[in-house]
């Protein structure tokens, strides 16, 4: 027996059995603190700031798709009230103008979507409208990609995407907001 004990003392090994416990502890800590938050949103490129007032460019009214959102979050599209759910299809119709309607845009290249809101408009309403306008363009791009290349817009190469975007440029111009209903 004594001899065995001496042997035991010789192999001085660190007990690795508790390693799992330690790892577990750390694991639980990280599990709790983890927020796998992926931040997503609508990516926008703001226009550059210039101190000079913008030039007064007269455009043909048929090429302007004016969208107004007032303090009550109501929508006025080309001087007509509209429900939010109709906005996307109407925007697409305006941009593409498949039937060459003289009241809609000359061509997608000349079409301008103008968005104007009040300072009292709720952010939610604003973003929903913006989202619909964006969605209209995205749907047009997708349809074009299907027609031209038979695949989704996202699967197209950079050059193909650029070609589509050139023919259907995304122009959402934001006018300075009015201030009827702002809160302090």
């Amino acid at each position: 027996m004594a001899r065995v004990r001496a042997k035991d003392r010789m192999k001085n090994e660190v007990n690795a059995g508790s390693m799992a416990d330690i790892a577990f502890l750390l694991l639980i800590f990280f599990l709790v603190t983890t927020t796998i938050l992926e931040d997503s949103g609508i990516l926008v490129k703001l226009p550059e700031w210039s101190d000079e007032p913008p030039e007064d460019i007269r455009l043909n009214t048929r090429n302007i798709y004016s969208v107004l959102v007032n303090t009550n979050n109501d929508l006025l599209v080309r001087k007509q009230p509209m429900a939010l759910k109709d906005l996307r299809d109407d925007t697409k119709l305006f941009i593409t103008n498949p039937k060459k309607d003289p009241t809609l845009s000359d061509s997608p290249k000349q079409a301008i979507v103008s968005l104007k809101n009040d300072r009292g408009t709720s952010y939610k309403a604003y973003l929903e409208v913006y989202n619909e306008l964006r969605a209209a363009y995205n749907e047009i791009w997708d349809e074009q990609a299907q027609i031209r290349y038979g695949k989704n817009y996202d699967d197209c190469t950079k050059a193909e995407q650029e070609g589509i975007r050139n023919d259907f440029p995304l122009v959402i111009s934001e006018a300075e907001s009015t201030s009827f209903g702002d809160e302090g």
């Binding site: 938050l37 997503s40 490129k45 700031w49």
Partner: protein
């Protein structure tokens, strides 16, 4: 040694737990890598609206966050109930945005600075007035890439 013992040894084949630490470590490393420590406590309530046309933001180091919302209950006595801006961990004035952007920019390698995106985390209930002011400030500071943070919409409009 005896007959009995030999019989017993055959009976309990144990599952080896030697690889357990390795498995746990693997999980541990996974969570360590994906973990983002919450840097700042929000003093304002921010519930982002829902949208469909979303882009995912990659590379957290190239993103700075501007929160806009109404102060939470605990801070209402101090800051009131009208929408406020939070930069980092404190409620700030709109005039502090350029400095905030500059500070973030300094932490990014020069080559990648053109990729910096500002993520606007804005509460649904906020009115556009303050958002417009922030946008104007961003434009004046030359920070043009902006992301309106939003959640994926699941239902219909």
């Amino acid at each position: 040694m005896s007959k009995f013992n030999k019989g017993k040894q055959k009976e309990d084949p144990e599952v080896s737990t030697a690889s357990l630490p390795d498995i746990i470590f693997m999980l541990l490393f996974f969570f360590m890598v994906v973990t983002v420590m919450r840097e700042s406590e929000l003093k304002i309530k921010v519930t982002t609206p829902q949208a469909t046309e979303l882009t995912k933001l990659q590379e957290k180091s190239l993103v700075n966050y501007i929160h806009i919302g109404r102060p939470t209950k605990n801070y209402q006595a101090k800051f009131g109930t009208s929408p406020k801006i939070q930069l980092g961990d404190k409620i700030s004035d709109i005039e502090e945005i350029p400095l905030f952007l500059e500070n973030h920019k300094a932490s990014v390698p020069e080559k990648l600075q053109f990729k910096i995106t500002t993520s606007l985390k804005v509460d649904s209930d906020v009115t556009m007035g303050i958002v417009t002011d922030v946008k104007e400030k961003l434009r004046k500071s030359g920070q043009l890439k902006v992301n309106y943070s939003a959640k994926k919409r699941t239902g219909d409009l």
